[in-house]
Symmetry: C2
Subunit: 354 residues, 2 copies
């Protein structure tokens, strides 16, 4: 299944590594760097749906600039005119008309759909319209529970890829009914086996060990978000990125909470979702009983401070996964991808010979 999947992304190499569509932070530079290295990079949702059109246009320009200069993207067959990056949308908040128009114009190789407003049936409408606008754009759908997997199988539009996200993940994941990948992934894989849909693993993976482990669980590839927050191409404040590198012990120092969404003025996520974030003073004082309005004042003052708004003494949202303790420095996305591929294969070999 993994080999068949790879064949749809002609430039990609095994093991198949993917950078997640992190909202705003996964821009064209990061996505293209990941794809260029043999992975698949996703552009994340924007502050507004329109922003994804701007990002796709930028990615399209960058790809055209490198064509012909013996770029890895020359592997794209002439008949396959897709853009070698994907694009992500959050269904509850994104505008389907604008999204479909952008996909129709720039033909990203994949569209990653997540977080419907009320029902997984919404994926059908999005999938159908995207496929009409761009038949070669593969439909990726992210889920985090067995129940969602079973519901998805009753949809009329079959996704091309399903991403299974474990509770270890950063950013928005299942609020209360998540579970670690180790138990979650195999059970969903069993339930979806008959569908022949390739499954990718996401959540808590940031190095070759996790990649190798996910492949053993049955994943056809691995998605990472947090690891790429520490990529030099990430569209992220320096203070945020430094904090991802500094922080460790994801079990103790991250939590799922809506507090930072609310401090930022973000409302509307369906109740099933809550984001994992690195704990800082806002959360600690919230737990100690400080009123939201007081925290909001302090938060908004902190925002003005720029990079020092993050960190142990910081107050602003630092969405990140439980894998923060495995990330020790910033590196180019291409080096991250190729280093992880190499290390994962080494780990698998070592596990087989022990």
């Amino acid at each position: 299944m993994a080999t068949k999947l790879l064949s749809r992304y002609s430039w990609a190499t095994s093991p198949f590594l993917v950078s997640a569509p992190m909202r705003v932070m996964s821009g064209p530079a990061l996505a293209l760097a990941v794809s260029r290295a043999g992975g698949l990079g996703f552009i994340g949702p924007g502050a507004k749906t329109q922003d994804t059109e701007v990002d796709l246009e930028q990615a399209s320009k960058l790809v055209k600039q490198t064509r012909g200069s013996s770029s890895v993207f020359d592997k794209l067959s002439p008949t396959n005119s897709v853009l070698p990056v994907g694009i992500g949308y959050q269904l509850w908040g994104d505008d389907i008309d604008i999204a479909v128009a952008a996909i129709g114009r720039y033909k990203p190789c994949a569209a990653w759909l997540y977080a419907p407003k009320q029902s997984l049936k919404e994926f059908d409408d999005w999938s159908r319209r995207i496929r009409q606008a761009s038949p070669d754009t593969q439909i990726w759908i992210q889920i985090g529970t067995l129940k969602e997997a079973k519901q998805l199988l009753t949809n009329s539009e079959k996704p091309d890829v399903v991403v299974i996200q474990g509770a270890e993940s950063g950013g928005h994941g299942r609020a209360t009914d998540g579970m670690g990948l180790m138990a979650l992934f195999p059970e969903i894989a069993d339930a979806m086996e008959g569908s022949q849909i390739p499954l990718l693993a996401a959540g808590g993976i940031a190095d070759g060990r996790g990649v190798a482990a996910a492949l053993c669980l049955g994943a056809s590839g691995v998605v990472m978000g947090t690891r790429f927050l520490a990529a030099s191409e990430a569209r992220i404040s320096r203070g945020y990125q430094n904090e991802v590198v500094r922080a460790s012990d994801g079990a103790a120092n991250t939590t799922r909470t809506l507090l930072y969404n609310h401090l930022r003025g973000t409302f509307g996520w369906p109740a099933e979702y809550s984001p994992r974030t690195i704990i800082n003073k806002s959360f600690i004082e919230h737990e100690a009983g400080t009123a939201f309005d007081d925290l909001k004042v302090l938060h908004d003052e902190a925002v003005k401070k720029g990079d020092s708004a993050w960190g142990l003494e910081g107050r602003v949202a630092t969405y990140a996964g439980a894998s923060i303790g495995l990330i020790h420095g910033v590196a180019d996305a291409g080096d991250i991808v190729q280093g992880l591929q190499k290390d994962a294969l080494k780990r698998i070999q070592s596990a087989g010979s022990s």
Copy 2:
């Protein structure tokens, strides 16, 4: 490291699989069946510490009966007189004098120590006294957080094996600061790398995929509890065992709660721990607001019903891990061990060639 570890248990084969010391339910028959198949079986703590002496005596007799009949245990060198099963203790509740006397008399190959009353320093006293009483008994210590790993490294008695338990685990694990193995294991492994102590993975693993994945994360072996609740040799009520086989979707249908401890009259676990259990009517009605005293009456009536006290309509404790959805039948422990070994190697091979 895995090879070096295996050499301490002369009958064991790779990959190294271990049945966890589940309280009462892991008796001599289960432990010996696991060891006989090339794994390492642990006898669990008893309702009273004295019970472990009875169990060790029984195991000792069973081993003597099979010696000479070309038993796998004949591989034990004549100079190595350990019993080829381990024994588990919960420090907060078990009596050290009785435990050490039992270990001194029966010389189990390993003693698994868990859940100190107040401080990880208690492991020092237990380790020292066990080693004095039985120098060949290896000390295994179970932890579930990075903080514990770091504290353990400051202890004066170095454990022979550390078991890292992920949040997916059944029975008593970390109450609030646990994390899925995928992110937890590698970070603890990095922190303990200098110690050269072999690390085993536990929690949420019940098939060859999980075993293979854990080995890729860097584990020298894998511990399973829930999987062996469905072993024919488990000392478990039929109703309980049937429920482990029936239940699925561990994320949705298990939870960590002290409710069932309290319904059973079990108090005293240190606050760091809480058990994962399959949800049934007691928990559902507790969540809906039914008073504890009313639940207790209903619980105690249910206990009298025997096997029907478990299940969807049941009311009694059904401690189990999030891997319940991967367990589809009861099998002999030896077949479980050897089937998982074979499947794990197949999974690793397949991951390496994809």
